[in-house]
């Protein structure tokens, strides 16, 4: 049995604004063991980033509010920790890589200073020692250590993302949350950065939550996958189970919309409709307005999580036996 690192139970995060309550995350459960990689997949607005910020306890407040749930990390509930303790965890035990490397580095500090900053905050080293370690971290991500005196604008996008990865891994965290780390990069650089993250993750034995909307990226890097829709995890399983045997109509739709290399198709086959407005989620199953298999009951009854065995969980009335497929 692997050691459990992160156990999120019933996490609910809403943004309370003048125009209504944005139900960004609605009671999700996530489990992650040490060294494992979870792919969190979903469309824009599915609540992936909010989940990540929730784990870091960085949901902007106001308007964001963590309404309920537990985030157990190494046995402590992060939601109950005082802010000062939480600061000691951020960047040290849990790190985050943001989507856009162009804006997640401070433009007026050299990359060496920014790397040294996180090392100094958590390891209490002297300036010189921190800079030395910063150089080593840069070398580790494939940037010459001598470039530690350069400013972020002197690096290309891919190199900036490497710097960001170096910052995130500088204190050897237990958990790395990568929020669409490759979305802002072009495809060849994406592959490089993913390889780098995969290699370093194995080297440091770091668990990772990889947020993405690219199933290809998931297939390459992850051990487990959770599919998010409208703030809920609709299906979660091991990588093989999910790719070989997807169950939820939404997951099926996602796979259906990927064009097949071998067949000539005139048009792509998307999931019809759009993501529901998170201030006004549909009744019953949030996916029912777009679901090809939806029946009347789906409009009324909220599906529960059904365990199909081997850790494969799905939230759909079909698998509760209430609706015929």
């Amino acid at each position: 049995m692997k050691e459990k690192l992160l156990d999120i139970k019933n996490l609910t995060i809403h943004y309370i604004t003048d125009d209504g309550v944005v139900k960004a995350v609605n009671g999700i459960d996530i489990e992650l063991n040490k060294g494992e990689t979870l792919g969190l997949v979903g469309e824009t607005g599915a609540g992936k980033t909010t989940t990540a910020l929730g784990i870091m306890r960085l949901v902007p407040n106001p308007p964001g509010k963590i309404l309920s749930g537990e985030i157990n990390f190494e046995g402590n509930d992060l939601l109950k920790l005082p802010e000062g303790e939480m600061r000691k965890i951020r960047g040290n035990k849990i790190s985050m890589i943001f989507q856009d490397p162009m804006t997640s580095l401070n433009p007026v500090m050299t990359v060496g200073e920014q790397l040294a900053e996180v090392i100094q905050i958590h390891e209490g080293l002297s300036n010189e020692e921190a800079i030395e370690k910063a150089k080593k971290m840069l070398e580790l991500v494939g940037i010459p250590g001598a470039r530690h005196t350069d400013y972020p604008h002197q690096f290309s996008g891919g190199m900036k993302q490497r710097v960001v990865i170096a910052i995130a891994l500088a204190c050897n965290p237990q958990l790395l949350i990568a929020d669409e780390p490759t979305t802002a990069l072009d495809v060849t650089i994406q592959a490089q950065v993913l390889d780098l993250m995969k290699r370093l993750k194995e080297e440091f034995n770091t668990a990772m939550i990889l947020i993405t909307h690219d199933l290809g990226v998931v297939a390459e890097v992850c051990d487990k996958v959770a599919i998010m829709y409208a703030g809920e995890i609709v299906e979660s399983a091991s990588l093989e189970d999910l790719f070989e045997n997807p169950k939820h109509p939404y997951t099926l739709g996602l796979f259906g919309s990927i064009p097949n290399l071998e067949e000539e198709v005139e048009r792509l086959n998307p999931i019809k409709g759009l993501m529901p407005d998170p201030t006004n989620l549909p009744s019953g199953c949030p996916f029912h307005p777009r679901c090809p298999k939806a029946k009347d009951l789906c409009k009324i009854q909220v599906p529960k999580t059904t365990d199909l065995g081997n850790g494969h969980k799905v939230r759909c009335l079909i698998y509760e036996g209430l609706v015929e497929a």
Partner: protein, 271 residues
């Protein structure tokens, strides 16, 4: 910045002025030359003895200009210091806390902005009485709103940027975020405005002295020298021309320096 010739020229002129001001007593003793009247030597043009001529009381204009530099530069720098300190902290507080605090502070600033700054300075000096400190205070307060506006704008744009969130995500506390991430990013426009503001403050001092609310005679000050020589413009052009030129050159130098600083503080223009 060393590559920017204009900015270096500005800096050079300023350094010369500052040195002249510091060694003013050595070059031309205050009591004997700068304020001692000599009616026999009234309104004499430039000569070997009096490089820039003499004024309406026979005092050496060069000596009065370098002694006046002490006052003008001090007023300029201290007044700008006062406005950056007050305006900057008010602006930062407003931007940081937002909501009602922001509203209260900025509406007050709007009221101050609605009054022309020279009029505000005149009002403050007349209310407090004319002394060097009151003059600096008046000029400083009069330009508080512009610094508050600059700081609030830059802090607002910076505090929501992703690198601030990233700094939070590495466990930085508010102090580190404010001092290492927000202030250095917000500072550039303030420093630039500051150097330009010194020029403005020197002009305001000259203006206030010109109308008799600034430095009191017989102490030399550029603006009051202008005011004093105005009556003799027809016969003795040098009495107003030289102080006027010095004001112009000083302000030009400060503006060049300000432009250079703006470029130097932008890391994107660094080589």
């Amino acid at each position: 910045m060393a590559k920017n010739k204009m900015a270096m020229a500005g800096l050079g002129i300023l350094l010369i002025l500052i040195l002249l001001a510091i060694f003013a007593d050595v070059i031309a003793p205050y009591e004997e030359v700068a304020i001692k009247q000599n009616l026999a030597m009234r309104l004499k043009g430039p000569s070997a003895e009096h490089w820039l001529g003499t004024d309406e009381f026979g005092r050496d204009i060069f000596a009065r200009i370098i002694h006046g530099a002490r006052v003008s530069l001090k007023v300029g720098i201290v007044a700008v210091g006062i406005s950056i300190l007050i305006g900057g902290s008010l602006g930062a507080v407003a931007a940081y806390y937002g909501g009602k605090v922001d509203n209260f502070i900025m509406r007050f600033m709007d009221i101050l902005l609605a009054v022309p700054s020279i009029l505000l300075a005149i009002a403050i000096v007349s209310a407090l009485g004319s002394s060097l400190f009151n003059l600096m205070l008046a000029i400083g307060i009069a330009s508080v709103p512009s610094y508050a506006r600059i700081v609030i704008a830059s802090v607002l744009s910076i505090k929501d940027q992703e690198f601030i969130e990233a700094a939070r995500a590495i466990g930085a506390n508010d102090f580190i975020i404010i001092t290492r991430h927000i202030i250095p990013n917000a500072l550039a426009p303030v420093i630039v405005q500051g150097t330009l503001g010194v020029a403005g403050a020197i002009l305001s001092t000259a203006g206030l002295s010109f109308i008799g609310l600034g430095i009191q005679p017989p102490a030399p000050e550029w603006g009051s020298m202008l005011a004093g020589g105005r009556a003799y413009l027809r016969d003795a052009w040098h009495v107003t021309t030289f102080p006027g030129l010095v004001i112009m050159i000083t302000i030009l130098a400060l503006n060049l320096l300000g432009d250079g600083l703006r470029d130097a503080l932008d890391p994107k223009l660094k080589q």
